[in-house]
């Protein structure tokens, strides 16, 4: 025999046989294209409100899916979703002020920036017990908010107005353009989650979630996998926030660093179910549309309370979310 026995993953070998989910990926792409086509064909025939409402739900699909990559697959709870969202948002503002880049470029820059911050946060805290990561994410969001409040260039505590550029190409309104963009981003996020879930990364993260010590002893490179997950998760959260300034047109720290965003990012995957890529989508559509209806019919305070109550209710009654309910139902079916 030559050389020591290699501990850890040997390149080329895969821990388990994984079927590639090509059909699932194809249907996700088809779904995204269908939604885009519907938005473009409907044009100005429906009220702009529907575009903005759907945009909000899709934004939460991205946020919830991003949260789930770390929280659901690896079991590391991120309380600072609003912080990463804000990085995306303020990246757009800063680069719009500096260079007047197109929004697509801002989205890519936001992905890089928040991904780097995610990597740094993970690097600082992931060597410790998982709960310290959660507390650090909470801390991180507040530190970031303090920095933004004191940073005049991006508006400081007074906030900043963002002017929507003219509508380009074949879009009838800017709201429609934002919706099509967010649909594409949601597609990218869900495909990324699917790729993680069905690959050796997802298998490794699941092993970490179940028993980190056991996973490490059997050769799962836990720190590296967790860093991949925090980077990807943070990056996608930033992507969700990047178009937000153009959506809301007036950005101030208290509307971006909103606890409601962090709670939604946690509630949607947990209500939908953290075990599968479609859980956060179900949760976002369910909670997102319910909140839209409640905001319109009752009040925005009521919708915020509703999210919290539904989250706690699901945690107690159905801790595996809708995904868990569906799986139980399938198993119980004769």
């Amino acid at each position: 025999m030559s050389g020591p026995i290699a501990l850890g993953p040997v390149s080329g070998s895969r821990p388990m046989a994984i079927r590639r989910p090509y059909w699932t990926a194809c249907s996700i792409v088809l779904g995204v294209l269908a939604l885009m086509a519907a938005a473009i064909l409907l044009g100005s025939r429906i009220s702009e409100y529907y575009y903005l409402a759907t945009y909000t739900i899709l934004q939460f699909v991205v946020l919830g899916t991003a949260w789930n990559i770390l929280g659901g697959y690896a079991g590391y709870v991120n309380f600072g979703a609003a912080g990463f969202f804000a990085i995306g948002c303020y990246t757009t503002i800063a680069f719009t002020k500096l260079l007047q880049l197109p929004l697509i470029a801002d989205v890519l820059l936001a992905a890089v920036m928040s991904g780097l911050v995610g990597l740094a946060t993970g690097y600082v805290t992931l060597r410790l017990r998982g709960v310290f990561f959660s507390i650090a994410t909470l801390a991180f969001a507040i530190v970031l908010q303090t920095i933004i409040v004191n940073w005049r260039f991006v508006g400081g505590s007074r906030g900043v107005y963002v002017i929507r550029p003219d509508v380009a190409y074949f879009f009838s309104s800017y709201a429609q353009f934002l919706l099509v963009l967010m649909t594409g981003l949601a597609g990218v996020a869900v495909l990324a989650a699917l790729a993680v879930e069905k690959s050796w990364i997802g298998a490794g993260l699941a092993a970490i979630r179940d028993d980190e010590t056991a996973a490490e002893t059997s050769g799962v490179p836990s720190l590296r996998l967790k860093l991949i997950a925090t980077t990807l998760s943070g990056s996608l959260m930033g992507v969700a926030g990047a178009p937000f300034p153009y959506y809301i047109t007036y950005v101030d720290p208290s509307s971006v660093f909103n606890l409601t965003i962090s709670v939604n990012a946690i509630a949607m995957p947990l209500v939908g179910g953290t075990g599968a890529w479609w859980g956060p989508i179900v949760g976002a559509v369910l909670l997102g549309s319910a909140q839209q209806i409640l905001t319109v019919t009752i009040s925005s305070a009521a919708n915020v309370l509703f999210v919290g109550l539904l989250l706690v209710l699901f945690l107690i009654v159905a801790p595996r979310g809708v995904v868990g309910l569906v799986r139980d139902w399938r198993r119980g079916r004769p």
């Binding site: 709870v77 959660s134 909470l138 530190v143 908010q145 004191n150 946690i266 947990l270 706690v312 801790p319």
Partner: protein, 291 residues
């Protein structure tokens, strides 16, 4: 800004006094998080509940906050025990505390905050008891009674908690639960009951800290968020499961915040605790008194 000696001494004195109050706010978390391993993110929300109970007691029922605080913390003790029972039944027993339990506390934090906003509104509320107005001047050091009395009450509470944990049988089982649950069973104590009582004490201390908070400064529901970072920073910096460590860390944080507010600007002081927390986690996760 030029650093004068008067300003420096006043900042340090007010930092120490503020730190004493922070110790009261964080002691319950030291018990819940450090000793019982329950990551109670909702602890600051319980502090807010205490503040608004005191506000309600003073402005509606006309009861002095220093009298009502005893009744409110007793109620907090009973509530905390029931709350822990429910948490244990739904999460700890299932082994779900890592993700679901954490999210549960986050949900509770959020619900309490929104409920307080719906009931009391987003205006700042305060208690205007006449004896809180004057200040105590010792030379050039000025301390308002509004700060000094809560400081003394906080120290008394901390002393009581410490001697309860160190002297009584139940108190010692609480300390033991954090180290070895089996050993607690072997000496004939029920670890779940010990944890239940400990969580009751933690909640009672949060309510009491809330009453002290609204005596010190005006309060609105989202003020609680500042205390998430403060209490957790203190808890980690103090070595997780030690009340003397908690006091030391609180005084440090109080002085650091007061100096920042005086010499850099008050808008930077929320970042002090969180920055300190991140720094502690990165450099010395065992805390200052940690082993």
């Amino acid at each position: 800004m030029n650093v004068t000696f008067d300003l420096l001494v006043n900042a340090i004195v007010s930092g120490v006094i503020l730190g004493g109050f922070y110790a009261a706010a964080a002691s319950g978390l030291t018990i819940a998080f450090g000793m019982l391993d329950i990551v109670n993110i909702a602890h600051p929300a319980f502090i807010m509940v205490g503040s608004f109970l005191a506000y309600f007691g003073w402005n509606v029922l006309g009861i002095d906050p220093f009298i009502s605080m005893a009744a409110f913390s007793a109620a907090g003790f009973v509530f905390g025990r029931a709350f822990y029972r429910a948490y244990h039944w739904f999460f700890e027993r299932r082994g779900d505390e890592a993700v679901q339990g954490l999210a549960f506390f986050f949900g509770i934090l959020f619900i309490v905050e929104v409920a307080l906003v719906l009931i009391f509104g987003v205006d700042y509320r305060f208690i205007d008891a006449p004896y809180l107005g004057p200040t105590l001047s010792l030379g050039f050091v000025v301390v308002p009674w509004r700060m000094l009395i809560p400081f003394l009450v906080a120290l008394a509470m901390l002393g009581m908690m410490h001697s309860y944990l160190a002297r009584t049988f139940t108190g010692r089982t609480i300390l033991a639960v954090s180290q070895d649950v089996e050993a607690v069973r072997l000496v004939g104590a029920d670890p779940i009951r010990s944890k239940e009582i400990a969580f009751g004490i933690a909640t009672a201390s949060a309510i009491l800290a809330g009453v002290l908070l609204i005596i010190i400064q005006p309060v609105e529901p989202s003020v609680g968020r500042e205390f998430i970072g403060r209490t957790f920073a203190i808890c980690v910096l103090g070595g997780m499961s030690s009340l003397p460590g908690t006091l030391l860390a609180s005084l440090l944080l109080g002085v650091a915040e007061a100096l920042t507010a005086t010499f850099v600007g008050p808008s930077w002081s929320p970042a002090v605790s969180f920055g300190l927390l991140l720094l502690t986690l990165a450099v010395r996760p065992a805390g200052i008194l940690g082993r």
